[in-house]
C-alpha cells in the first residue's frame, strides 16, 4: 500500500461515533479520541503554565528588593500559593497525563484507551478546576496558606479562598485518578498480541508505575482534604489543636500524597527521556530492564518516604531515622536511570537537535536537584535549611530542571507525530539556550540564599540578600521571555512547518509506524511485532543517519517497515523472539 492510499483510508472514520478532529474548533468539544484528548491536555496545561509563570514573575518582582513595595504581603501570600498550586496540579501532573494519552495506545498498538469516554471526562474536570482557582483571585479572597494548606493556618485565613482551593484540588485529584485507572487498564489489557511487558517501551513502564502511584496515593489526599473541609466549613476540629485535633495528622495525610506526587511529576518524563535519548543517540538503550524496574522501585519507595517533609514537625527520632534512610535509598534507582542514559549516549552517534538538547539539559539539571535532595534527606542538614530558599532551589531544580525540561524534550520529540509538522530547529535552540540560562540564573543562587538563612514564603528580607535575589529575579524574567520563541514556533510550525513524514527521527517504537498525525483508530492494520523498541542495529548506530537520508531501510513509511524486516523466519512468528 502506498503512502497516498494509506492517507486515503486514514480519512474514513472507522466508526460512526465520533468524528476525528480536523479543524481547530474540534479541539474545543467533548471528543473521545485519545489523540484529541492528549492535545487538549497539553494545550490547556500549557496555558496554565503561562499563568503560573506570570504569578512566579510577580513573586520575583516583589523579591527583587528587600522591602515590601510591589504588592501587599497578603497578595504576596496568594501569589505564591496560587503559583505553586497551578504549577503542580494544573501543569506538571496533567501534562504527564497528556503525553500518556497520546502515546500509550500508539505504543502498544491499541485503537484507543480502554475507556474513551471516561478519558474525556477526566480531561474536562481540569478547566473548571483551574478557572475556579483563578476566579478566586478575582473575587478578592484567594487562598493564601501556601500550596500545602497546613492547618491551623489554613483555617484562620480566608474561608472562601481556602474552600475554593480544596474544591479545586479535589476535582483535579479525581481527574488524575480516573486517568490513572484508564492508563492501568489500557496497559494491562490492550497490548497487541506478542507485546509482553518486557518489550514495552520505557515510557509505558514509567506510566504504569506513575499510574499505580496515583491510584494509591491520591485518594489519601482526598480523605485529608475532606476532613480539612469539615474543619473549615462545619466547625469540626480534626486538625485544630484548640479543639483537641492534631495538625500533624493532616501533614501525614497531605504528604502521603504529595511526596509520591513528586514522582508522579517526574516519572513520566523519566520515561519520555528514556525514549528520546536512544533515538537521538542511534543506540539501543543501556539497561532496559534496570530502567524499567527502577521505575517500579521508585514508585514503591515513594510511598514510604513522605515524613521527610516533617522532620521539624516534632515526629519521634526513630521515625526520622526510618524516613531518612528510605529517602536516601530512592537515590539508588534514580541513579540507575541517570547512569543508564549516560551509558546509552556513550559512543552513540548523538544528533544535537532540540529534543536531545532538552534531554541532556534534563539529565544535567536533574542531577543537581537530585543531589540537593539527598542533602535534604539528611535530618541534621534538613533541620538547618528547613523552610529556607535551599528547599525552594531543590524543588525548582527537580520540577523545572527535571519535569519542565522533560516536557519540552517530549514536545519537541513528539510534535512531528502529533501535528505532522516539524518544529523549527533554530528557534528551538534559542528556546533551549534561554531556558537553560534563565533556569540556572533563577534557581542556582537560591541554594546560597538558603544556606545563608533566607526564609521562603516571606515578602520582606534582610538587605544582605539583595544581590542574589536580583540575579534570581532577572533569571525568572529570562525564563518568561524564553517561552515566547517556543509559543510562536509551536503555532507557526503547526500551521506552516516543514512536513514531518511518518518517522522523521527514524525511531523504532510503534507510534512512529503509523501516519503523522495518526488516523482515527491509529493503525490501518494491527501491527505485528518483530523486534524490540530499542533494537537500533548496532552496526548502523555508528553510521548515524542524517535526517534527509533517503535510505529506504530506515526511512519512514509503512512500506519500509516491510522492507526493513530483519529475518523472515523471525518475522513470521513473533513468539520466537522471546
Amino acid at each position: 500500500m502506498t503512502q497516498a492510499q494509506l492517507q486515503e483510508t486514514a480519512n474514513i472514520p472507522a466508526h460512526g461515533e465520533e468524528p476525528p478532529a480536523r479543524k481547530w474548533q474540534d479541539y474545543f468539544g467533548f471528543n473521545t479520541d485519545h489523540k484529541v484528548i492528549a492535545i487538549q491536555y497539553l494545550v490547556t496545561t500549557f496555558i496554565f503554565y503561562c499563568i503560573g509563570g506570570v504569578l512566579a514573575d510577580l513573586v520575583r518582582t516583589e523579591l527583587r528588593t528587600p522591602e515590601v513595595d510591589f504588592v501587599t504581603p497578603e497578595v504576596y501570600n496568594s501569589l505564591f500559593t496560587l503559583h505553586a498550586t497551578i504549577m503542580i496540579f494544573l501543569w506538571i501532573v496533567p501534562a504527564g497525563a497528556g503525553f500518556a494519552n497520546f502515546l500509550i495506545p500508539l505504543m502498544i498498538g491499541a485503537k484507543d484507551m480502554a475507556f474513551p469516554r471516561l478519558n474525556a471526562v477526566a480531561f474536562w474536570m481540569i478547566p473548571p478546576a483551574g478557572l475556579l482557582l483563578i476566579a478566586s483571585l478575582v473575587v478578592g479572597d484567594a487562598p493564601d496558606a501556601g500550596w500545602t494548606s497546613y492547618p491551623p493556618l489554613s483555617l484562620v485565613t480566608g474561608q472562601v479562598g481556602e474552600g475554593i482551593w480544596i474544591m479545586s484540588v479535589l476535582l483535579l485529584g479525581t481527574s488524575s485518578i480516573l486517568g490513572a485507572i484508564n492508563f492501568l487498564v489500557t496497559l494491562l489489557r490492550m497490548r497487541i498480541p506478542g507485546l509482553g511487558f518486557n518489550q514495552l517501551p520505557l515510557f509505558c513502564w514509567a506510566m504504569f508505575a506513575t499510574s499505580a502511584l496515583t491510584l494509591v496515593s491520591t485518594p489519601v489526599l482526598a480523605a485529608g482534604l475532606i476532613l480539612l473541609a469539615f474543619d473549615l466549613l462545619a466547625g469540626t476540629t480534626f486538625f485544630n489543636p484548640t479543639g483537641g485535633g492534631d495538625p500533624v495528622v493532616y501533614q501525614h495525610m497531605f504528604w502521603f500524597y504529595s511526596h509520591p506526587a513528586v514522582y508522579i511529576m517526574i516519572l513520566p518524563f523519566f520515561g519520555a527521556i528514556s525514549e528520546v535519548i536512544p533515538v537521538h543517540s542511534r543506540k539501543p538503550i543501556f539497561g532496559y530492564k534496570a530502567i524499567a524496574y527502577s521505575s517500579l522501585a521508585i514508585s514503591f519507595l515513594g510511598l514510604i518516604v513522605w515524613a521527610h517533609h516533617m522532620f521539624t514537625s516534632g515526629i519521634p527520632g526513630w521515625l526520622r531515622m526510618f524516613f531518612m534512610i528510605t529517602t536516601m535509598i530512592i537515590a539508588v534507582p534514580t541513579g540507575i536511570k541517570i547512569f543508564s542514559w549516560l551509558a546509552t549516549m556513550w559512543g552513540g552517534k548523538i544528533r544535537l537537535n532540540t529534543p536531545m538538547l532538552f534531554a541532556m539539559g534534563f539529565v544535567g539539571t536533574f542531577v543537581i536537584g537530585g543531589i540537593s535532595g539527598v542533602m535534604l534527606a539528611a535530618v541534621p542538614f534538613d533541620i538547618h535549611v528547613h523552610d529556607t530558599y535551599f528547599v525552594v532551589a531543590h524543588l525548582h531544580y527537580v520540577l523545572f530542571g527535571g519535569s519542565v525540561l522533560g516536557i519540552y524534550a517530549a514536545i519537541y520529540h513528539w510534535f512531528p507525530k502529533m501535528t505532522g509538522r516539524m518544529l523549527n530547529e533554530f528557534w528551538g535552540k534559542v528556546h533551549f539556550a534561554l531556558t537553560i540560562v534563565g533556569l540556572n540564573m533563577a534557581f542556582l543562587p537560591m541554594h546560597k540564599l538558603g544556606m545563608m538563612g533566607m526564609n521562603r514564603r516571606v515578602a520582606q528580607y534582610d538587605p544582605k540578600f539583595t544581590f542574589l535575589n536580583e540575579i534570581c529575579t532577572y533569571g525568572a524574567y529570562i525564563l518568561a521571555v524564553s517561552t515566547f520563541p517556543f509559543i510562536i514556533n509551536a503555532i507557526w510550525s503547526w500551521l506552516y512547518g516543514e512536513k514531518a513524514g511518518n518517522n522523521p527521527w527514524r525511531a523504532l517504537t510503534l507510534e512512529w509506524m503509523t501516519t503523522s498525525p495518526p488516523a482515527i483508530e491509529n493503525f490501518d492494520k494491527t501491527p505485528v511485532l518483530v523486534t524490540g523498541p530499542y533494537d537500533y542495529g548496532l552496526e548502523k548506530a555508528h553510521e548515524g543517519v542524517p535526517l534527509s537520508d533517503p535510505n529506504p531501510i530506515l526511512s519512514a513509511g509503512p512500506n519500509s517497515v516491510l522492507r526493513a524486516e530483519p529475518d523472515p523466519a523471525v518475522a513470521a512468528n513473533p513468539e520466537d523472539r522471546k
Binding site: 489489557r189 491510584l215 485518594p219 479543639g243
Partner: protein, 208 residues
C-alpha cells in the same frame, strides 16, 4: 532491526473487522469494564484507608479515647444493621447466580431484596443519628464517627441506587442474560466492597 511488519492473516481479519465496525465502536473490544471497576475500587478503598488511618492516629495521640464525657454508643442497633448488611451480600450473590442461569425473575427478586436490605440499613443509620447524644462538633470522636459512618452511608446509598438502576434496566426483556450481565456483576462487586468497608468501620468505631 526494524520493529514491525504486517501479517497478511491479520490484515484479512482486520478488513472483516472494519466492515462491521461502523455499527458499534467500543463494544467490539473485549470488555474491560469489570477490571476497571476493580481498579477504581482500589482508589475508593484508599480514601477509606486514609480516613481510618487518621482515626487511628487521633486515637493514638489523644490521652483518652473516646475523649472524656462522650456518651456510650448503643451496640444493639448497629449490630443488627451489620448482620443485615453482611446477609445482603449473600442475597445479592443469588441474583448473580440466577442471571447466569438466565433466570431473570429470580435475579429481579434477589436484587429487590438486596435493595430493601440496603434501605433498611440506611434507615437504621438515620435512626441511630437522631438518637445519639452527641453532635458533629461535640468532640473529636463524635466528628470522626459522623464523618466516617456518613461517608460510608453515602456509599451504601450509591450502591442501592446502582441496584435500583439495574432493576430499572432489567424491565426490558433480554437486557440481561447469562452472557450479558455486566451491570449486575458491577453492582455486586461494589456492594461487597461497601460491605467489607463496613466491617472494618464497625470494628474500629464500635468495638475497638
Amino acid at each position: 532491526m526494524q520493529s514491525q511488519t504486517i501479517d497478511p492473516a491479520k490484515t484479512e481479519l482486520n478488513h472483516h473487522h472494519t466492515a462491521e465496525a461502523t455499527v458499534g465502536h467500543h463494544e467490539e473490544h473485549p470488555d474491560h469494564r469489570l477490571f476497571g471497576l476493580i481498579v477504581f475500587l482500589i482508589a475508593e478503598g484508599m480514601i477509606f484507608m486514609g480516613l481510618f488511618g487518621a482515626y487511628l492516629a487521633f486515637r493514638a495521640t489523644l490521652p483518652a479515647w473516646p475523649p472524656e464525657g462522650t456518651p456510650e454508643l448503643e451496640l444493639l442497633l448497629p449490630s443488627v444493621n451489620t448482620i443485615n448488611l453482611i446477609a445482603s451480600s449473600f442475597v445479592m450473590h443469588n441474583a448473580d447466580t440466577a442471571i447466569k442461569k438466565n433466570d431473570t425473575r429470580g435475579m429481579r427478586t434477589w436484587l429487590a431484596i438486596t435493595a430493601a436490605m440496603g434501605a433498611i440499613f440506611l434507615v437504621g443509620q438515620v435512626y441511630e443519628y437522631t438518637h445519639l447524644e452527641f453532635g458533629l462538633t461535640t468532640n473529636l470522636f463524635a466528628s470522626a464517627f459522623y464523618v466516617l459512618t456518613g461517608f460510608h452511608g453515602l456509599h451504601v446509598t450509591i450502591g442501592v441506587l446502582a441496584i435500583v438502576a439495574v432493576l430499572w434496566r432489567s424491565r426490558v426483556k433480554g437486557h440481561y442474560s447469562s452472557e450479558k450481565h455486566f451491570g449486575i456483576e458491577a453492582a455486586e462487586i461494589y456492594w461487597h466492597f461497601v460491605d467489607v468497608i463496613w466491617i472494618i468501620l464497625f470494628g474500629l468505631l464500635y468495638l475497638l
